[in-house]
């Protein structure tokens, strides 16, 4: 009996707070959303076991409540209004999750990679190296120097700048242009 009364009091309090929030009372709105938060977390976590996904759904519900707060009719009960939005957003999230997982496969180790040396034959690796060496040789001298120092020798931009006497920004531009030119060159060959 006491529990029922408490629920009725809570329902009445939320109805009044929502009405005030619709009229622009930010304090009432903050209080309402803060009071709703544990209730929403409890409802969502009962249906979604992943805590991160559950918290994302709770945030979606809060955003939806905010977006359609004008649809609440203060002469009607508050909880059915809130629960309809909550259940709809949980269903939407479940649909989104299932369509996302339909396009993804969880594996521990990828069975094959195209860039991994261990999955390639020796001949493939040497062919790749030859193609890349040729693409580098076609670059203008400034870009070639930049890409050799930064990408092949693995120097930092600061170290490459000290070695060449050029500024860091000009080296970054040279590397960027070199990569673009090589990609263009390699795509043409493929």
């Amino acid at each position: 009996m006491r529990k029922l009364n408490r629920q009725q009091d809570r329902e009445e309090s939320w109805r009044i707070l929502m009405r005030a929030a619709q009229d622009g009372d930010r304090t009432a709105y903050t209080r309402l959303l803060s009071e709703l938060l544990p209730v929403l977390r409890q409802i969502v976590r009962r249906r979604c076991r992943n805590p991160q996904d559950a918290e994302d759904i709770v945030q979606e519900v809060l955003l939806s409540v905010h977006a359609v707060r004008h649809t609440y009719d203060p002469t009607r009960a508050f909880m059915p209004w809130l629960m309809t939005i909550t259940m709809r957003r949980i269903t939407d999230a479940a649909r989104k999750l299932s369509s996302r997982s339909a396009n993804e496969t969880t594996v521990d180790v990828l069975p094959e990679t195209f860039s991994g040396h261990e999955t390639k034959k020796e001949q493939d690796t040497s062919d790749d190296n030859e193609v890349i060496r040729r693409a580098i040789s076609l670059l203008p001298p400034g870009q070639r120097q930049a890409i050799v120092l930064v990408k092949l020798r693995g120097l930092s931009f600061q170290e490459a700048a000290t070695a060449t006497g050029k500024s860091i920004s000009s080296l970054k531009v040279a590397v960027h242009r070199a990569v673009k030119a090589m990609r263009r060159n390699l795509n043409r060959k493929i």
Binding site: R26, L63, S64, D92
Partner: protein, 218 residues
């Protein structure tokens, strides 16, 4: 973003909002505008020559009245479906009138079968019904969809199906006033069938037409 921060941001964005007008009043608004539009279309197309005779037939009145009430109740149900927390049975409100409409056409088919045998149920192509119902229902459909976007998309498929049913049924009721086609089987297939098909098409576009708004919060 932490949820507590989100609440602070939402509260900071809580400007006063204009409450959504109740479904009953929105239905009256939509119906009034749409009926005026349909009446203008009927007058433009020209009333059927035998309309005064037809208006004296209870069967004709029941059929057109049921189509009109189906439209009205479907519109009311669509507006109710955009208000969270309302009972689900409201979405079934047009069904009794839809059943009366279907029943009156079925009874007409039965009468034609008894009176004329298989010849009474001859189905011919009618290239006017479907395009006319589509053309006439476009304006009421655009109006009801623009009004529905103010609500919450809690049941987008049902809402768009009901809204399309409302617009198409009103157009079909109007069509009966200027298109002299009285063979029940023809009305059943080409007019009632068009309305049912359009409602189905409307349902397919539910999720695309009615989406959750994304509030811009800072």
């Amino acid at each position: 973003m932490q949820t507590e921060d989100l609440i602070r941001a939402l509260a900071a964005d809580a400007t006063p909002v204009k409450r959504l007008v109740r479904p009953g009043r929105r239905t009256i608004t939509w119906l009034t505008i749409s009926v005026v539009y349909i009446a203008a279309v009927v007058l433009f197309m020209g009333l059927r020559p035998d309309l005064s005779t037809k208006l004296a037939e209870p069967r004709f009145l029941i059929e057109v009245g049921a189509a009109f009430l189906t439209s009205m109740m479907a519109a009311a149900a669509a507006f109710c479906a955009g208000c969270p927390g309302r009972p689900l049975w409201e979405r079934l409100a047009p069904l009794p009138f839809l059943a009366i409409w279907l029943g009156s056409l079925g009874e007409g088919c039965w009468r034609d079968w008894v009176g004329s045998g298989p010849d009474g149920l001859t189905l011919q192509l009618d290239f006017l019904c479907f395009p006319t119902i589509v053309a006439v229902s476009i304006a009421p459909a655009v109006l009801i969809f623009s009004m529905l976007r103010q609500g919450a998309p809690i049941a987008p498929v049902a809402t768009t199906a009901l809204a399309t049913l409302a617009a198409a049924a009103l157009a079909a009721a109007g069509l009966r006033l200027f298109h002299p086609q009285d063979a029940s089987v023809m009305v059943l297939v080409w007019q009632f069938g068009s309305v049912a098909a359009l409602a189905g098409v409307g349902a397919l576009f539910g999720r695309r037409l009615l989406r959750w708004p994304h509030p811009r919060i800072t």
